[in-house]
Symmetry: none
Subunit: 214 residues, 4 copies
DNA sequence: CTATAATCGAGACGGTACGTCCTGTCTTATT
DNA sequence: AATAAGACAGGACGTACCGTCTCGATTATAG
């Protein structure tokens, strides 16, 4: 999660190196500047030089931490996706609606709109980038589904998993469906995600899965 | 559909344009070269100059027809999306599976992977581009859903629409779900769309909609 | 002199060809437009397309008559240099002053300033162009020197030529001196040619040549 | 003299510029490449991109130092004109002949032929360029005349200047005459400057000025 | 009166250079 | 060692002209 790129080994070493230590403030300033620039200028308008200027930092400082724009933006966006939470609202339907609403809010921010699909597009060519996206952006979302599922099972709304593998597959398909549908609605079709739409979508979703004992 | 950008009025004009007419062969060569370059180099590697060279055409000829890379790629991809068809396979489930398979095939092509998400990302900033994408890429897909629905109703698998508006909303949500989920599976999660996955997904989909009389 | 370039044979043929005859009005309009554009935009800013537009003529019409900008400008300027005359003012000194004044006037026009040195520069690389410049621009000036010399000899101010060859050489050197000095003063040093300067220069010139019987 | 264009203030600044200092080697390579390209391709064929390539330098490095082709060529040529010298040959006639010969040699170089008139032509439109040409190319020549005159006065061949202003005017007219005549002979008339021609021209020149006590 | 033919306008075409912008690396002096 | 500053090689951008071409329309002479 931390902008640890480009360093010797990191986990094995709390490297108390000799020279001047890296400025932690710079990291935050750069990531904030990146989000700001994304929101203002979009993915295509984002330049490393501009980010450096906004952050009050030299270009070198940027490249010392991130190998390129892509990785920088992944880290800048990851912070936002880390804030997603699944609260136990008492029922599966309510939990789903809450999570979808949170996700839709996130996708409505200008920086997210500018960055998310562009990152996915870049990731489809660069496997290393794809992995980084998976770890820092996609996984945090998928965890929500697992969590919500566990909550539902704890409440007795869903039968517990028997086959580990099948459960995994099912989580995948649910996740792709939720994330994909909301993204498509907001970013491709360009139509709003209202409370009513969320309700309809969540209802469909629960219909679709016969495993729910509601 | 035709690369008619940059021209005076087009529909209302049987305008016997005065100068030398634009080369139709150039249009085709450029669009083909664009798809080729996308497949080879990806969105980021796509260069107007390179496309021009591949098409055996001057860069000016490109800019005379398309104001930028974005519009060019929309038109180049639109041709692929025009080829989608909904065949009547006898049952709604079979029809859905067929259409999903077709769509997944399309999204598996390297040029589509390179272009689609990048276009959507650009479209989220540029309303004109978004409209163009809607008309030339998204609409042709949505038509499939409408068509399939009509077929199902003709076969008696679905009750006919009563409320026009509600039907429209439902088509929207179905469409966003199908397109979004498949895109997310293939382009974001990076996992394959197998025959089995398609079957599971189609089943879920039909479960979700109680209107089906199966 | 006429813009006869690019035609079959011309002298041997008053070629009453079959097709539509070339517009004589176009020639004049083009040359006038050329001088206008030169005065406004300078040599570097002069474009064939712009000249065509100013003349209300298609670019093709231009290229049918002149192979390139250089030749076009030679012809456009030649008209101005054809207007130079040597009037018999009664004394060699007066004649020289009159001719220098005329020449200085010509070099003070903006189109001349823009074109003359540029043409000479181009001519130093392109022998064909150099010949054209010699014939249409330089020779008309040199004739003035010969004429003035003849007048002076007729008035008895100079001894008649004995050696044809030596006379020729002397005309050359006088001509280079007058033209070169005035050009350098006006176009290189950028200082004005006043009545006083002309007088001083003419005096020096007559001093320099002992052959004058004054 | 140095290619100092585009810099903050230069003389008043012992400014220990903060970033990486400009490469001095690049300056020399660029100016040399410019002269080479001029000699090979002429003014019209001279391209910023080509110069950059020859110098093994990026185009941006060129534009960082010189705003355009014109200024670059002035600096490239200035080096040649800095090499002019007036040697004391013992007599005014000999000194004049030596200087004219030197100047003619310089004007016979292909890069000079390509550049000089073209620069003067451009300078007649652009006052800033004209000033630059004056300072770096014309003045070094004019200094020769002043120097030669001083030498002659020291030798007693010329009476010393009484009126400062008149002397200045006289230097101007002598300079325009020498430079203009040689340039016209070589670059416009396109005829060679032989030893004999130089002798004749120098003789005329000394005739013209009665101030000489020979 | 109809071919035939060269001209005209318009504007598309392949090509080249332009001057700008951004990338990612480098070289300074400073901290 | 990391920092700010900024020069550097390289490459794509979108524009402007060049000189050629392909159109339909015009305007002359020749049959």
């Amino acid at each position: 999660m931390a902008p640890t790129t480009q360093q010797p080994a990191e986990p094995a070493a709390p490297t108390r190196g000799k020279g001047r230590p890296r400025s932690a403030a710079a990291d935050l300033a750069i990531l904030e500047a990146t989000r700001q620039a994304l929101a203002e200028l979009g993915w295509g308008g984002l330049t490393m030089g501009d980010v450096a200027t906004r952050a009050g930092v030299a270009k070198t400082t940027l490249y010392r931490r991130w190998p390129s724009k892509n990785e920088l933006v992944v880290d800048a966006m990851a912070i936002l996706f880390d804030q997603l939470e699944v609260a136990d609202m008492g029922s599966l339907q309510a939990d789903v609606e809450a999570v979808v609403a949170q996700f839709a809010d996130l996708l409505s921010r200008p920086e997210t709109q500018a960055a998310l699909l562009a990152l996915f597009a870049e990731g489809s060519r660069d496997p290393q980038l794809r992995r980084r996206i998976q770890e820092q952006i996609v996984e945090p979302q998928k965890v929500l589904v697992q969590q919500g599922r566990a909550n539902a099972q704890a409440r007795g709304e869903m039968v517990p998993d028997e086959d580990e593998h099948a459960a995994c597959e099912e989580i995948d398909i649910i996740f792709d469906t939720i994330a994909g549908t909301v993204e498509h609605r907001l970013l491709v079709s360009g139509r709003p995600v209202t409370q009513e739409w969320i309700h309809r979508f969540a209802t469909l979703l629960l219909n679709a899965f016969p495993g729910t004992t509601c």
